[in-house]
Point group: C2
Chain length 447, copies 2
């Protein structure tokens, strides 16, 4: 019986755990799930015979090492900064490990030790990063195999609300960590390459430099540049590419309205607002506007940011309640924390709401005959409910499938890995298709 150790039983582990439990009898697995909150684990495992729930604290080094030592493979769904602690135990006891997070610098630095231990540390195996890598590399590798050269690469992913639950003027609800949504785009300029020209967009212009994307059957979206698109040149081996651009998807109109918050300064997380606890939403907005004893907050805001009387974005702002005399109630809060509070009042999913993951790639390539083509590839995944969300499915299933393929020897590598090699992504993408993660492709001849 193979022992699987899953660390972390939070929201994004639901689909992962369901898959492992469902397969456990057929595959002869024992699935141990560990979390600080053991009741959360028990609820998810439901006393299934092939499972075990344990209370677990990553800071208890002894327990962590003992559990790793007992396992055949480890899956860390912990916050990314804790992976390194688990990886060290995995090296010592020669156990493979999977995480859905970006390869961190400290894990990269252990590559030599990881290779010497003969283990695989598989990272970036969720949806973004994860399914984006796999589906993009499949397209790129196919073009290369046929003697073609990729000259243009764009890729966008978004976590959104499903069309059937989309009933607010922002066409948006929180389907993952709200704090990350509020801070998105900060911490570095957006860099990309367009027709061999390096381009830079500062944060305060990011939400006004979007592009529109049409996805058959799902309508229009807008794409906002991610921070560093340039590093994917080396990751994907696209050294001579003319254009490389990665971004995040929202429904059309979101970014123009969000830019109001950026322009005011409401997304700043670096300082505390004086007297935030007893201030109202309206006073919060007013503290970013010039003083005037007579004019309304509404008119001052319209004038400051040149918002026309008939601009549809105004409805979005009013609907959020930013002009209401509601108490903030957060002590020593940053602008970003207060904004998050305001948004959480309105952008929280209702019990019956479903989420949606949308992914879209656009490539251009020149084939062996010198003809130029454009390829569009898109994937839309709708959540089942509030447990098995699209986010949970698209993050957890690639991890679960990879775990199976590593245990049965189909995937058999050594070192710090990302799913960008055919031997890794081909079997994972194939099985994902059976779980509704399907890409639709479309090719157009350009010249």
């Amino acid at each position: 019986m193979k022992q699987i150790l899953v660390l972390g039983a939070g929201r994004s582990s639901s689909s992962l755990i369901r898959y492992l439990v469902n397969e456990s009898e057929k595959e002869n697995w024992k699935v141990t799930v560990a979390d600080r909150d053991v009741s959360l684990v028990k609820e998810k495992l439901n006393n299934h015979a092939h499972t075990k729930a344990i209370e677990f604290d990553i800071h208890n080094e002894k327990q962590a090492e003992e559990e790793v030592a007992k396992a055949d493979i480890v899956i860390s769904m912990l916050p990314w900064r804790f992976h390194i602690l688990v990886v060290k135990h995995c090296i010592k006891h020669k156990k493979n490990i999977i995480t859905p997070s970006y390869v961190s610098d400290d894990i990269k630095a252990l590559d030599k030790e990881i290779r010497e231990a003969g283990i695989m540390v598989m990272n970036e195996l969720g949806v973004d990063p994860g399914i984006d890598h796999m589906s993009a590399m499949k397209l790129i590798d196919e073009i290369r195999e046929n003697g073609g050269e990729v000259v243009h690469f764009e890729s966008f992913t978004g976590g959104l609300v499903a069309p059937e639950s989309d009933n607010n003027p922002w066409n948006y609800k929180f389907t993952w960590n709200p704090r990350n949504v509020v801070l998105a785009g900060q911490g570095g300029v957006a860099k990309f390459l367009e027709e061999k020209e390096y381009k830079y967009i500062p944060y305060h212009k990011l939400f006004r430099r979007t592009e529109f994307i049409d996805i058959d059957g799902y309508g229009k979206f807008e794409g906002i540049a991610n921070r560093d698109s340039l590093k994917y040149q080396s990751i994907y081996g696209l050294h001579d590419i003319r254009t490389i651009y990665r971004g995040t998807l929202r429904r059309v109109g979101f970014s123009r309205a969000w830019d109001v918050f950026v322009q005011l300064g409401l997304t700043d997380d670096s300082y505390v607002i004086e007297g935030s606890e007893n201030m109202t939403y309206r006073q919060f907005i007013n503290s970013f506007l010039a003083y005037n004893p007579h004019d309304s907050v509404e008119l001052k805001l319209r004038y400051y940011l040149k918002i026309e009387q008939d601009d549809v974005l105004w409805e979005k702002l009013v609907w959020l309640g930013i002009f209401e005399n509601k108490k903030v109630g957060l002590k020593d809060a940053t602008p970003a924390q207060i904004l998050q509070k305001i948004l959480e009042d309105k952008w929280t999913l209702a019990p019956d709401d479903k989420d949606m993951i949308v992914m879209w790639h656009k490539l251009k390539y020149i084939n062996a005959k010198g003809e130029e083509y454009e390829v569009h590839s898109s994937m839309v995944n709708i959540g089942e409910d509030q447990t098995y969300t699209a986010m949970s499915n698209t993050v957890g299933l690639p991890v679960a499938i990879c775990c199976k393929l590593m245990l049965n020897g189909t995937i058999n590598e050594i070192g710090v890995k990302m799913p960008i090699e055919p031997a890794i992504y081909t079997p994972i993408l194939k099985e994902l298709e059976g779980h509704g993660v399907q890409f639709k492709e479309k090719e157009i001849r350009l010249k």
Copy 2:
């Protein structure tokens, strides 16, 4: 014979050294000036009998301690981060010390040791900080003495080019560290209090939220908010104030044009531009604009930032040469470094140019009878030449005068000090008047 040790003989030490040398015979002083570049010192001292030039490295602890031990008083004109090293020697050998820089946290932390040694560490004794503190506190203390209460405080200072040398469309030239000018306003939100409301301006809006200020005989200026005006509430004891606002002065129209650079992202010092060395000024600007194979950089910029065809700010941009095919020639440079290079081509003072320091305070107070008054107080100082600049005079003279007053016992305190007490600022301001640092006051009855 009293021994004065001056550390640092850079540009801002010229007027300080001239004063000390001129007074040295009458006062019976020996003035030792120490710098890494001893030739710089010799040039400034010109073999005067009461002086001594020494080569000095602040990282040579032994030399630093020996020189401090020999002195009766120390003046540190070194970059602010080095003051702490000198202060430690001063504590050990019980010597008073003066610096024109902001009180640093590490100096503040030594207050107990400084008091136990019975010495005075006098800081913030230049122009801004320095003359601004002294002139503001003189006004505030006078109002208080007469039973009045200050309810409104605004204070602005600017280092500018003198009217007779003001011959470019920006009405600006570099009269101090260009790097600080390019980065001004970064590193924290601008906070202030207006009619008891806390107000916050993010960096990307700072140069569009200016106010106009008129100074008799010198015309109009515009004021840009400084980072943290709130801390002056406690420094000046203005706890119940309605409005407190401090800022920087430029000529009218500067900020709207500078905002073009902020909006593009050219003042960012946090990352390096790919291939900066071989890029032209025009390509540099283009890397912040959307790609288009046909449109000009000029039209893309106008369209992006909505600059009207007849807007006068355009002339400022063209005059700087930002659209020219001139090589940047800086390897691995940040946007801010490249912008500084472009500006230095044009904003450098010509040999005959003079600089100017402008300071302006506006206070409102309610007197003992309940009447409300507004006071304006302004000071304009024009530099003599490129050595005895207004900057050098207004930074160096308060330091030099304070040094004399400390040596002759007129100023006699213990601890970490700023010039905000009458016993300190009164004699310094009085002597400064004789050196052309004069404030003009104007009072208006409001109600």
